[in-house]
């Protein structure tokens, strides 16, 4: 039973963990699974500066491997997640953070969803208001000439 549970855990690991892991070598990993998990969580927040669209946990680049090692050294030395991230952020700047901080330069980035949402809501509001306004303006009553023509047409079709 315990063996089955272990097998299930091992199978579930890569599925639940999500994303490919470049840390393949056991020598790269920390002995303590809790610390290793923390190192992975930190690594997934840090951009590989070489490939730029992968985290350092996913990248095969040399620099990413070096940074993975530094992250693990610092975790093992007892630093908090924020301290480890600050160490890398201090050297590589905002770009290294896959979740960019809110600054003047990133305001448009963070604000874009709210601007889009606001624009969409405004469009819906204006459209609904216009649609509601339309039936309110009742069509002008028919003039005597129009009434006469309508009667003539009805006469034609009745014949």
């Amino acid at each position: 039973m315990r063996r089955l549970a272990l097998t299930l855990c091992l199978l579930a690991g890569p599925i639940l963990g999500g994303g490919a892991l470049a840390v393949g070598l056991p020598s790269e990993m920390l002995r303590d699974p809790v610390q290793e998990q923390r190192a992975r969580d930190i690594g997934h927040e840090l951009r590989c500066m070489v490939c730029q669209n992968q985290s350092i946990e996913e990248s095969e680049a040399d620099l990413a491997r070096d940074l993975r090692r530094i992250v693990r050294e610092r975790v093992a030395a007892g630093e908090s997640n924020a301290q480890v991230v600050a160490y890398v952020h201090d050297r590589y700047g905002d770009f290294v953070l896959l979740r960019p901080p809110f600054t003047l330069a990133t305001a448009a980035l963070w604000g874009a969803p709210f601007i889009a949402l606001g624009g969409g809501l405004a469009a819906i509001f204006l459209l609904l208001r216009r649609r509601r306004a339309l039936p309110a303006a009742a069509p002008a009553p028919l003039t005597p000439a129009e009434q006469a023509r309508l009667a003539a047409l009805e006469d034609d079709s009745a014949r």
């Binding site: 040399d62 050297r91 590589y92 700047g93 003039t143 000439a145």
Partner: protein, 208 residues
């Protein structure tokens, strides 16, 4: 025939003509909007491609976090075969005038492209300090024998840890430090003749 009424507009019915002119102008503006957008986009892309061609714009370029700060502390061993003194951050403050710090490696192809420009600067008396990144000492020495040695000092960073302290993400990278030892500029990529003329020379003049 008599049942066809006259078609002259009556009072109360909307009149076509001058009254709908603003609506027509708006429609024309809407029709022209995509064209305007395409023109603006085209101009933007043209500027980007031009910048990439002349080397003034790099879409992968990332600003250095160290600009405006002093160089991080380090002490690197020398490359014995080159006969150059070792290189530590304390050397930077002792040097007069602006200096360049260049991260390079013998296995790095763009480093060969930028080498003549470094040689030229060193001949003109600009202090170029080298940090040899993740290289074998013998390979680095062979590179300097073959292409010339522009460096006043040279430190070996075989583990690449000092490079990480500088925020280096690939060789070659070149930093310009003012006379106070503060990092003023970083270039990630080879120092081409254009970079030398358009960036480095004005900066050397400004920080002289």
């Amino acid at each position: 025939m008599s049942d066809i009424p006259d078609t002259t507009p009556k009072a109360g019915t909307p009149e076509p003509g001058p009254a709908s002119a603003p609506g027509l102008g708006r429609r024309r503006a809407l029709m022209l909007a995509p064209l305007g957008l395409a023109v603006a986009g085209g101009a933007g892309f043209y500027a980007m491609l031009r910048g990439m061609g002349t080397g003034t714009y790099d879409p992968r370029g990332v600003p250095s976090a160290l600009v405006g700060r002093a160089a991080p502390p380090f002490a690197l061993p020398p490359l014995e075969a080159a006969g150059l003194p070792a290189f530590a951050n304390t050397d930077l403050a002792a040097l007069p005038g602006p200096v360049l710090v260049n991260f390079w490696a013998s296995w790095c192809v763009p480093c060969i492209i930028e080498h003549p420009q470094l040689m030229q600067l060193s001949r003109e008396g600009v202090k170029v300090l080298g940090i040899n990144y993740k290289d074998k000492p013998a390979d680095a020495a062979t590179f300097l024998t073959r292409h010339g040695n522009p460096f006043a000092r040279l430190g070996r960073d075989e583990p690449g840890r000092v490079a990480i302290d500088w925020g280096v993400y690939g060789v070659p990278e070149t930093y310009l430090l003012d006379r106070g030892g503060i990092i003023r500029w970083r270039w990630a990529g080879p120092v081409t003749p254009e970079v030398l003329e358009q960036d480095i020379r004005p900066l050397l003049k400004r920080h002289a």
